[in-house]
């Protein structure tokens, strides 16, 4: 094999593409093999076997692979090619528990094709998507005998359990993982069928506040009017945390929020916007926001959300008590450059100022992460997605939700882009998870095209 590297001619890429299209049956078989191996991290079921299977599939595809131990499940690492530019593909080979089993039409680990989709646990989330990158690389090797850039793979085995050791692994293996770009395919395409591209994620901070105003619930008549009510006190504290426009009133909350850049706003300006359709998808009557405001709030601004309220009697009918206890579960979605610990301290301080006896507990957090959409690599991925699909990508400055993307941007210190490949109705985390074959094959082509675009000077 000619192992030289660098930019490849268009003709070379066309040959790779043709090869991909010839090999669809083989690619599907390989995905079925990978899905057939259970790898349920939450139940520690088959995860190591799956790591070994994945490493051997990588070797079969021409990618030297190695299994790294962690405090939890193993990381499968691979590396191939040479070039001025290195891309690090991230994915996870573990899957969600398949229960309830009786809800599956065909068993979760007996991957079956029906109506143009492969059904099975992990088809879309994330085995099908991680495999696309390997298959794209394999086709380059088969057709051209070389890769135009250097490619690394990191596949973890406990994303579905919250990636508890990923950050540590990345911190401890910075040289091994060093790259110019991290590339993640997870989640679905835009629901229009257009490819989606996210240049970041919002972070997350979970917390719970609880208070106790008496040792027991008291009778609302016999004691009513002379002792505190935990529910009213909770209402008072919560009300102090947001104004009527929904702006958070906690001192310092917005201090580090990054102003949207011109290119952030340009991305938003380029989006189609159908508020009535969004309202329907969200189950609300109306979206009362203009496009820019809508997407700024969803991707570039932090939130403070009550997830749940609990106090007093909640059964049928009435129970005339003065509740002794009240609590609220909350989460904040954080944006660059907010720091979860700082935000938690600010909120705790605010609550304690309102009532020093309230207990405020942190329930985990994830840093926000952003990559400049104006970077050359950012633009190349956008171009690759459009060229491979023939559709204008829905490109956003960030997802509204949270992923551990900060391990690449903050710990490894590289740009990171999220390019989901699955169908919008993949039913990940649910029974009858599936990956449309069209999305699977299209994903391989996007990955191949991304490699091609990244190889260009």
């Amino acid at each position: 094999m000619d192992k030289t590297h660098g930019e490849i001619p268009t003709l070379g890429y066309q040959k790779v593409l043709a090869q991909l299209r010839r090999k669809k049956r083989e690619h599907l078989k390989l995905l079925q093999r990978l899905v057939a191996q259970p790898s349920i991290s939450a139940q520690n079921e088959g995860v190591r076997d799956c790591a070994e299977l994945l490493a051997s599939i990588m070797e079969e595809l021409g990618v030297p692979a190695q299994i790294y131990e962690t405090e939890g499940q193993p990381v499968v690492f691979g590396e191939i090619g040479e070039g001025d530019l290195t891309v690090l593909f991230y994915g996870h080979y573990d899957v969600q528990p398949p229960e309830p089993l009786e809800a599956w039409t065909t068993p979760p680990f007996s991957p079956t094709v029906r109506n143009g989709r492969l059904y099975g646990r992990g088809t879309g989330d994330n085995k099908g998507q991680l495999l696309t990158h390997l298959l794209a690389v394999h086709s380059y090797l088969e057709v051209l005998g070389k890769l135009p850039i250097k490619i690394k793979f990191i596949f973890e085995g406990e994303e579905e359990s919250g990636s508890p050791y990923l950050a540590d692994f990345v911190a401890e293996h910075q040289e091994l993982l060093s790259a110019d770009l991290a590339y993640t395919s997870d989640g679905p395409l835009h629901e229009s069928g257009a490819p989606a591209i996210y240049y970041g994620v919002r972070g997350m901070l979970g917390l719970e506040m609880s208070l106790e105003t008496a040792s027991w619930d008291n009778h609302s008549g016999n004691k009513g009017g002379v002792i505190p009510n935990a529910a009213w006190e909770l209402v008072r504290i919560l009300f102090s945390m947001k104004d009527e426009q929904g702006r958070v009133l906690v001192d310092g909350f917005y201090d580090r929020v990054r102003e949207p850049s011109e290119i952030d706003l340009e991305l938003i300006a380029n989006l189609e916007y159908h508020p009535w359709q969004i309202a329907k998808n969200f189950g609300v009557k109306k979206i009362n926001l203009e496009k820019e405001e809508f997407y700024r709030r969803l991707t570039l601004e932090p939130t403070m959300t009550i997830n749940g309220l609990t106090s007093g009697y909640q059964g049928q009918g009435t129970k005339t008590i003065i509740p002794a206890k009240a609590s609220a579960k909350m989460d904040c979605r954080l944006v660059a450059d907010q720091d979860p610990e700082e935000v938690f301290s600010a909120i705790k301080h605010h609550i304690e100022k309102m009532n020093p006896e309230v207990e405020v507990i942190q329930q985990g957090y994830m840093h926000p992460s952003r990559t400049d959409p104006g970077l050359p690599v950012s633009q190349k991925i956008l171009k690759a997605a459009q060229a491979a699909t023939g559709k204008k990508p829905v490109a956003l400055p960030a997802t509204g939700g949270s992923l551990p993307d900060y391990v690449w941007t903050k710990i490894l210190g590289v740009p990171s882009i999220i390019v989901p490949y699955a169908n919008a109705d993949e039913a990940n985390h649910a029974p009858n998870e599936n990956l449309s074959l069209e999305c699977f094959y299209q994903g391989i082509e996007i990955s191949a095209r991304a490699i091609y675009e990244l190889s260009k000077k």
Copy 2:
């Protein structure tokens, strides 16, 4: 028998008292007979049998009795004596369900004496207390052959089910029930052991508000920042209903609240006040109110209480959702001359002004009731309780809780006084309900003395 009537000499009363003290064993036996008959209105268990037993006991005691049908359980009525003044004793012969049965030391309907108490369902609430009046009357008849006043009895059979037909019965039998004073013994003595006297009750209004901001709970990341949150909206509405001092901000809420009279404030001024002891009894750290403020708020001012809050996720750990639904259960304690329907309308109007989509449901109400503590009958009862017990009564303008006292003051249009006889730890509504024999015998003496005091010109 000499059936003449009118004021009796002190010596006559002393003879009645002596007779009461001789007959303790017989009185206890009669109570045991009445308690042994189940009469669980909530389960329609034995209630009619108990009405018949009670009527026959009344006849045995020399009180002509009659059973009146209602749409629900029967009313037992009795009438005896002649005089310028008529007192109507109210009580209820139905009892709470006895469950959980395994928690009883001796079976609930096998009344048993232990440690100076009679244990059994209904001993204190209310069979023992209603029997005291009958036994006092019986002793007058036995010793003097006559009563110095006219006495009526109304014993209902579904107080523990909310007295659904009592108001109708009173409205339809105003002549039968006509009296100068209604007298109720229910509930416990003051916890110091002193007799308690209440010249009224607070009313009650139950309500529930609920709102729905979306058709389902949405993901707090993927949708966070652009759609409403039912929990925040509930907080906003609730916060608008009370100021930081706890004053209700609903327009019109206080419109009909009666100013305390001089004698109301005098009653309060006469009370002992041990805020640290009260705090301990209420399970709170501290009572931060002066005596007058404390009792004004508890008996002469209305409340608005959150009984329960429900929204979103309330389980272990976190669930990052934007709740679609939120609700609050509430009750108001009302004071003279508030009207529950008017107050409900005012609250509903307030909430609908805040958010017209909130559903506000009324969950029952009871009118407040007040009797002037300065009336001669009011003063006589106070004197009777003090004379019979040798202790200064704890006399309050009203109870903090609610009883259907308005049927006497508003429907029948007579003064009404509540004079509880049971021990403070009677465990009514709980397993091992009991009545201390001392309280039972003392109750008979208070009733006898009340009759004596009322007979005085």
